[in-house]
Structure formats: structure tokens, C-alpha cells
Symmetry: C2
Subunit: 595 residues, 2 copies
């Protein structure tokens, strides 16, 4: 069975040393409640809960899966009880506003806890995850009574939430959706239609489930401009909070999936179910994007979390398993063979995981600090800058951390050899679970179009400009630091190249719109690898400057950064060449000639 | 459910137009039996069998899996009957020598049939695959009576074979193996030990199973120089062929795996089982490598086969599924949205699969023609050259075709979006099945060391020299061909770079043995991508020269080659940079500082 220990030392290093979270929390309103002592205690307790309660249910949950019969979903053994403990511990309320019963801890703390949950048990983590998205939508778009009635029980964990977007004929393309909402005389609506791939659409954790459903009002315009959002609870809820009879909605079936088998993925049938409009009519996509952006970053953390757990286990195995002698002579002559870790390519696969886990952690938590600044700062300009940076980084966090999770869970299994392929060791589950993360909440392709098409081209690249400015400032600050020059020099050069490449693509796409789509995915990786290079350079600088970390810790950071710069960052060469090959290389083939 | 149609047009194009198999077969002894008419009829019949008999059992076999109880393995519904049809059709005997009941068709024909089998049903294909390896070992190392008694029933399909190498503490490192073989007075041996991961170790296809087992004789030297190979049948067989009582061996359990669930992967316990020595005492590894090399190329075909089937299905889906409008304006204004295939990144993912499937097919079948030349040519120098080329290409075939299968089955699922992640469509099975192919019969890491360490450095690169010579000859022949210059120029340049890079690594590894292991995997990919570039250039030249293929077919080849050169071949830039980063980037980290 695979193990998990929360990497608290590195988590704290990233939070405090690299990102300066202590000072950040202190200067944001509410900071008096998030001193380092408090945060450290929260993280210790989170580690305990995740290591001891959730992690042991990961493999058994995968093996048992969810059960479905007559519209009822039963989660695997222990899942429901773990959820009760989760709520009792106040974890459901961690980031929610105090007025709705939350603890209003910064999102950066939530990010650390989220990483732990997903490392411990990704399938389980999907139940509270969807509540988080629904909370955000209610917080930002709900009327006050809706927040009172629906948000409070979600914050306490008494109820959970869902996002009902996808329909059989439309996933990415929500403009095609058909679910209808017809007004009743009392101001409620009758919602009818079929939604698929609804995570946590039905389960046995709670008595009620609050579905947030995209649907069309009568006479709504066609396409995405005619979509509204509705609150449709499993059991009807009156405006005063009274829970009534069962609503006209049901889970029709659950999907049999490659992974996240303990997470219920439901077909939800709405048959004139009673619901309330949330936000403005026909503006449902705005509210949906509120949920979606939160969920996208959260899925990025899922990738990070699986990379971390895969790394821990493959590292332990590489130290333990004896196989072959080192090419440069026996390293453990006392043993019948050397441990796997002496072999260069095993080290390459380990270091790749380490570089993506630790570098990805800085990227991921950094995004969370931007959420906090965007929500809490009293300086409007700072809030706007943080929002623009966050908008720019969200597709990178989502796509890069999930795509690298594919590679890292692959590497971890490869280190285990045949033992990785059998269920017993738990490594193959990580690959199966990871596979969904580049698909749900917007595929890598959609993230890439969001990054290049919307965040850079449409919004004139405000977020990119801020980010490049931050990199330049950092490089400038560190230019006299002899210990950092090996990273600063290539980073500064690549950043210049990045700006030039972005302009190149912009120019080409003015005469051919397909240039954008043709460059997008390679551009996302290219941008992602440079972003990680920046965060790795910052990590080395922060480690060097730290007075609380050991010389070994500092050396480990430096050598990992060096590995990243020399072995992974050169992948930008392949991506830039592919981008420059242009649309022609993809669009020239007539559809009929593909095969 | 996923579909499969044997890509006969491309298979024949590769065989006849690119590789000139018609002329090759004609000039090799026995060629009168393999005229184009005969071969075409064989391929048509193979396509029918695989499409109609094996393919429909692929998904049901995955869902049902193998059953195990009291040492008995029951294969999924329909598997046993399909095997009977396979034997009745003479497929088990396709490549075997006529004197043992075989049809002695060239391996190049076997490769095409093998690709079809693995596309149709990879799990099922593993049962006859292991027989093929055992046949080769018996053919090359068995005594005449052993061939009579054991090879003939394997050739007819009446019995199957296995390769029993791995033990719980040793997979890659066979020097550690502990299974013992003690001589009996009658010249037989008592074999005792536990073998794991034995594919087709137990099943219900046949009455008897012929295990080829690596074990140590008493007083054998330690390590790999003390390993011998034994024939240990499930039911005892006398030298005259009489089948006797059950032997002292049993299947202890079967593995629960990520994929190839319908292929039985057995723990085999030998408890003084009666066996015969095959080949020389303590020379078992030689015989084992005979089986292994055959199996490695066959696993390469498994990767190719999954790439092909994933491509077929994702292409059909991309043409059918309507989602979003093209960035350059609606392409199907009559429909509610455009088909996926209009979107550039969908095309990138399709073309990547097409380029690896069709280019990989040339590489794979080319290796098979080398087997035929090496076995059949009457010119000793030609045989030797073919053997050296084959030895050099075997790790590339194995590793490149299986690693690209990971990427291609990933791409195919990504095109399906959420629908790819659910079992219903069958796409996730391809990823799960593909995952074992980079592990079994030697991991990618082992292939890379075999290529760079053994085939290039130890053998002074004879195979590489021949291959580079062939590329140079081709480039020279085509230099006046204006239609080919776009490929010939970069190919010639890269080939020069390849030679230089190989010398660089050789020089560095003289002072530091770790340089070899540090470069190996990146070198394998680098070499693999250039090899495919060569085969793609040859494919375009062959298509242009063909009088039997349509203008559309020729255009499709050219545009795919162009895609390959502009979008995939640049990956060599990342690999060469990683190689040049040297051993330092991997070896500098002290083991204790990994985490």
C-alpha cells in the first residue's frame, strides 16, 4: 500500500520563505487571526487528519468504488464517516466568510490543505471541492437570503454543492445546452433537462445537495448569451430555510471510469425540479466562471498533489529496491545489488518529479496568494493587478500542474517496474486518478486558448505584463548575487524571448486566426516551463536567504533547480520550434485525408 | 464500443512500396511461396479474423478479466473459442519452419498480422506471443528430440509456451535469481522456485503449457554466468512425446493489474518440477535473449497497434462530435457547431497519432525484414549486416513505439474529453493496456542502456554505422529530387549531428561511466525521432514513386511527413540539450537530499 506524509517542511518553506506569506497575511485585513503560530497549528492538524483519516481510505475506496441502485449512491466504506470528521474539525468552513459561519482563513492556507487532501485521497476530495465552487458562486452572485439559506449549510458541511453544466451533446461548448427553466407564479422556476458528468451529484454524505444548474429561460437568446444559473436543491428549500419534500430530480446512473472511482460522477435528470434564479437572467456564464476559475485552480492542485504522492512512494522504492550495480562500480558492496537510486535514469525520473512537485507548489500557492490579495487588499490597484495576474496564471496552474502530473505518475510507476502495474502497490491508481485532471474543468486545449486567446490577446496581456515585470524586477534585484547568476542569466534571456514570441504570434494571428489555436498548447507549455524556471530561481534565492533551513535543504533546492534548468527547461526549444512551424503544419491536411 | 478496421492500404504500402517486400521475398529462399497474391490473401484473411473474431472480445475481456480459483485460470468468455479458431486457421504456425508443421512465412508478414492482433485484442495476443518466444528458443537452442516433442505442438497451437524469468526480488537484474535445478539420475532436472509476472503461465486455452524456466544448477557460478534454461511442461512429457502426469508446478495467484486484464499474469510455483535442460549449462541467458529479442520487437508492435486503434477511434470521434466554432469562422454553418476536427489542437493530436502510427509502422516492419534477411539470406555478409542493424534497432523499436503509444493513447482520450475517461467508449482501456508496454520485456531504461551501452559503445556501433550509411545513401539518391529536398536537407544535417553527438558521449563516458546512463534515455528518443524522420522521408519518396496510389494518398503522406518534421522532430532539440547537460545534472544530488 502506498504511503503519504504531508511535506510540511517544504509547504512552509514555499509559504513563508518563498512567498512571504507571514508578512502578506499580516498586512491584509483579518491578518491578526492568521499569525504564523495559528497557521502552523492548522497545517499540523490538517496533516494529521489527511495522513490518518483520508489517506488510508484511498486504495480501498478505489477498489470498492461507488455503488448505485435506484437513484441512490453509496460511497465506499469509511468515506461518509471521514466527511463527518472533516466537518467536525471545521475544515469545510476553512476559507468561508465569518458571517456565514466560516473561519475566513486565507486561500493560501486553503491551498496547502487542499494539496494534502488530494494527495491523501483525490476521489474523496472531490465531494468538498464542488462545495467550494458553489460557495463562491453563492457568495458573489447570490441574494442575501440565498446566502443565508444555502451558503451557511454548505459552509458548515451540512450540505454539499455541485456544478451542473455538461450535457450529453455539450461539454466544452456550453452554448449548445438545452436544459430549460420555466417560471412559476411564485418566482421559482421549473428546471428540466439532463446533465452528465456531475461530480458529487448524488452521495450519502449529507441530507441535502445544492445543485447549481445552467439552464435556458423561455425565449432566451441562442448560444452562451441565453444561459442562466439556478439553485436547485435535492430537497426543496423555502426562502425561510425550511426544508420540504423531495425535488423532481434524480441521479439516473453513475459512470464507470478509469479512475477517481470513489468519486461519484452522475447523470442527473431534472424533471421540472423547483429552483431559484441566481444572479441576472442570461448572465449565468458569468456566475459559472466564478465557480470554474476556483475549480480550475483546485484541479491544478490535484495534479500537484498526485505528483507529490507519486514522488514520495517512488523515492522510497528507489532507495529500498536492490537491482543491478552502478555503472561506476558497486555502491553497496555489502548487498547483493545496489539500490535503484544509484542509476542515472532512475535519478532523472525522481528529480523530474521533485522539480515539478516543489516548483509546482510555488506556482500553485502563489496563485492562491493572488486570490487573497484580490479579495482582501485595501488598495484597489493592488487588487486589480492581482486579479489580472491570477487570470493569466489560472490556465497555467490548471494545465501545467495536471500535465506534469501525467509525466510524474508515469515516472513513478516506471521506477516500480512491473510492481507499479499491479494494483497492490497503489501506483497505478495515481496514474488513473491523474488522467481526469487534464480533462475536467476545461481540457488543456481550453486552458491554452484561454491563456493565449483571452488572457493575452483579448485582454492585451495585462497579466503577462505584470508577470514579466515581476520576473524582471527579481532578476534585477539578484543581478549582483553570484550564487544566483546561473539561473538569472538564462531566465532573463528566456523572458525576453517569451515577449518576442508572444508578439510574433499576435502579429501572425491578425492575418490568420488559426495561428492562435495552432500555437496555443505549445505556448502554454513554453510559458509554463519559463514560469517554473522563475519560481525555481526564487526558491533558490529564498533558501539561500533563509536562516531557519539547513545547509542540506539549501543544497537540495539548488541542485534541483540546476536539474530543472539543464534537463527540463530545454523543452522550451521543442515548443518554440513547433509554434514557429505555424498553422500551416496543422491546417494544410484536408479533413478527408486524415485516414 | 471502440471499432477496429485493419489499415490494409497502409500496411501494404509500407510492405511493398516503402520496404520493397515483394522483391525481397522473391529473392530469399522459399520466396516462391510468398508471392504478392499469396501475401495479400493472407492479410485479407487476417484482417477478417481480427476484425470479426478478436476485436469484439477486447472490451468484454477487459471488463470480465481472468478468473482464478485453486490454481486454475479461466480466461474471459469467448477467448478460448477464439484461440481454437486461430489455430484452425493456421495462424499459430504462420512463421514456424515447415519441418515442424509451420508455414514458414516471412517475419515481415508475421509483423503485419501481429499488429492486427494487438490492435484487435492486446490481452488475447499475449497468449500466442509467448509461444512465439518459446518457439524461437526451441528452434535455436533445442535438441532435435526437444523440437519434435515440444516445438511441434506449440507450432500447431495445441500447446502454448511461456518465459519464466522474473522472481520477486529480481526483474531487470536476473543475476540475482534463486530458482534451483537439481539433476535426476535419468538426465532430467528437479526445478524449484517462485517466478512472478508470468504471462500466460496458466490458462484454459490448451491442455499443456511448456514453461521455459531460468534456474541455477548446483554449484553454478553466482550472477548471470550461472543461469541455465529448462523446459518444464505443466504435464510431464517423455522424450518420445508421451504426455504423463501433472508436473509439480502450479499457478499460485494472478495479478490484479491496471490493464491487459484478460491476459493472465501468474505467480508460478515450481516445487521440484521435472524439466529438461535446453542449450548449454550456465548459458541460459543466451537462450533467454533469443526469446527476449523476439519479444521486445513484438512489444514494440503492441505499442504501434494501440496507437493505430486509438487513432482510428479518435479520428472518427473528431469528425462526428460537434463542439464550438472554428476560430476562422463556421465550417459547418448547417450544424449547431463545427466538428472537433476543425480545431487546430485537435488536428495536432490527430496528426501526432497518424505520424507515429504510419512512421512507426515503417520502422516496425523494417525490423521484421531484417529478421528475414538475417535468417534466410544466402549471403553471409548480408546476414551479418542485417543482424547488426536489427540488434541496433531492436531497443528503438521496443522503446520508441511503446513510449509514443503512451502519448497517442493519451491524445486519443483527450480528444474524447470526459467521454474518453469513462469505460463505455473503450478509450481508457487503450491507455491502461498501453502502460505495461514500456515496462515488460525490459523497461525503456533498459532498452536505452542496451542501445547506447551495448549496441553502440560495446559493439563499436556497427549497427549505427550501417543505419547511418543507409540514410546517407538514401539522401544521396534523392538529392536531385526537388520534391524531397524539404526532408532530405534536415535529415542529412541531423544525421551528421547524431554521429557527432554519439562520439561526444563516447568520449565523455571514457572518463565517467555515469555519462552513459545519464544520456541513455534522451539519446534513445533523439535517435528514435531521427530514425522516424528517415522513414517518413522514405515514405514520401515511395508514395511519389508509386503508380498504384491515388494523388490524395500521396498528398496525405507528404503533409503528415511535413507535420512530423516541423512539429515532432524539433523535440530532438530538448533531448540534445538534456544529453549535453551531462551526468553532473543527475548525479550531483546526494541520495539523502532527494527528500
Amino acid at each position: 500500500m502506498s504511503k503519504y506524509a504531508a511535506p510540511l517542511t517544504d509547504m512552509r518553506f514555499v509559504l513563508y520563505d518563498v512567498l512571504g506569506a507571514e508578512a502578506l497575511f499580516a498586512r491584509l485585513p483579518g491578518g491578526e487571526a492568521t499569525t504564523r503560530d495559528v497557521v502552523d497549528a492548522v497545517l499540523d492538524e490538517a496533516a494529521r487528519f489527511n495522513e490518518q483519516v483520508l489517506a488510508p481510505l484511498n486504495q480501498s475506496g478505489d477498489q470498492e468504488g461507488c455503488h448505485f441502485a435506484d437513484g441512490v449512491v453509496t460511497t465506499p466504506k469509511g468515506f461518509k464517516e471521514a466527511y463527518a470528521q472533516f466537518c467536525d474539525g471545521g475544515w469545510a468552513a476553512l476559507n468561508a466568510p465569518e458571517q456565514y459561519g466560516g473561519q475566513h482563513m486565507p486561500e493560501a492556507i486553503g491551498a496547502v490543505v487542499k494539496e494534502m487532501i488530494d494527495s491523501a485521497n483525490l476521489s474523496w476530495g472531490n465531494y468538498p471541492l464542488l462545495s467550494h465552487g458553489a460557495s463562491e458562486a453563492l457568495k458573489q452572485h447570490g441574494e442575501e437570503w440565498q446566502r443565508e439559506v444555502f451558503l451557511k449549510p454548505i459552509v458548515s458541511g451540512k450540505w454539499t454543492g455541485t456544478m451542473c453544466l455538461t450535457e450529453p451533446h455539450c461539454g466544452t461548448d456550453l452554448g449548445l445546452l438545452k436544459t430549460k427553466a420555466e417560471p412559476n407564479a411564485d418566482g421559482t422556476f421549473r428546471v428540466s433537462g439532463t446533465k452528465i458528468f456531475i461530480t458529487a451529484g448524488e452521495h450519502d454524505f449529507t441530507d441535502n445537495i445544492v445543485h447549481l444548474v445552467l439552464a435556458r429561460l423561455p425565449d432566451a437568446p441562442a448560444g452562451t448569451k441565453g444561459i442562466s444559473l439556478f439553485i436547485v436543491p435535492k430537497f426543496k428549500v423555502a426562502r425561510d430555510g425550511t426544508v420540504g419534500e423531495r425535488n423532481a430530480l434524480a441521479c439516473g446512473s453513475i459512470e464507470h471510469k478509469m479512475g477517481i472511482k470513489a468519486s461519484s460522477t452522475c447523470v442527473m435528470n431534472f424533471d421540472g425540479a423547483e429552483g431559484y434564479l441566481i444572479g441576472q437572467p442570461n448572465k449565468g456564464l458569468n456566475a459559472m466562471f466564478t465557480m470554474m476559475n476556483t475549480a480550475r485552480i483546485a484541479v491544478g492542485y490535484q495534479g500537484l498533489a498526485l505528483t507529490e504522492r507519486a514522488y514520495q512512494n517512488s523515492l522510497a522504492y528507489a532507495r529500498d529496491r536492490l537491482q543491478m550495480r552502478s555503472l561506476s562500480g558497486p555502491k553497496r558492496p555489502d548487498k547483493p545489488a545496489d539500490p535503484l537510486i544509484v542509476h542515472p535514469d532512475i535519478r532523472r525520473m525522481l528529480l523530474t518529479q521533485k522539480a515539478f512537485a516543489e516548483g509546482g507548489r510555488v506556482l500553485g500557492y502563489y496563485a492562491a496568494t493572488l486570490v487573497d490579495i484580490g479579495e482582501r487588499s485595501e488598495d484597489a490597484a493592488e487588487r486589480q493587478r492581482a486579479d489580472e495576474l491570477l487570470g493569466f496564471l489560472t490556465p497555467i496552474v490548471k494545465a501545467l500542474l495536471t500535465e506534469t502530473a501525467q509525466e510524474c505518475t508515469y515516472n513513478a510507476m516506471q521506477i516500480f517496474g512491473g510492481h507499479g502495474y499491479v494494483a497492490e502497490w497503489g501506483m497505478e491508481q495515481f496514474m488513473r486518478d491523474a488522467r481526469i485532471t487534464t480533462i475536467y474543468e476545461g481540457t488543456t486545449q481550453i486552458q491554452a486558448l484561454d491563456l493565449l486567446g483571452r488572457k493575452i490577446m483579448q485582454l492585451q496581456g495585462a497579466g503577462l505584463r505584470h508577470f514579466v515585470e515581476d520576473i524582471s524586477t527579481f532578476c534585477h534585484e539578484q543581478q549582483a548575487n553570484a550564487g544566483l547568476i546561473e539561473f538569472i542569466k538564462p531566465l532573463a534571456e528566456l523572458t525576453q524571448e517569451w515577449i518576442g514570441l508572444t508578439q510574433e504570434i499576435g502579429k501572425k494571428s491578425m492575418s490568420d486566426a488559426e495561428e492562435l489555436g495552432s500555437a496555443a498548447v505549445d505556448y502554454l507549455f513554453y510559458a509554463g516551463y519559463i514560469s517554473l524556471a522563475y519560481f525555481w530561481a526564487r526558491s533558490v534565492a529564498a533558501a539561500d536567504a533563509s536562516t531557519s533551513h539547513s545547509a542540506e535543504f539549501k543544497q537540495s533546492k539548488r541542485l534541483t533547480a540546476r536539474f530543472y534548468y539543464s534537463r527540463l527547461l530545454p523543452r522550451t526549444r521543442g515548443h518554440i520550434a513547433a509554434i514557429r512551424a505555424g498553422a500551416e503544419s496543422l491546417m494544410a491536411m484536408p479533413d478527408a485525408l486524415f485516414g
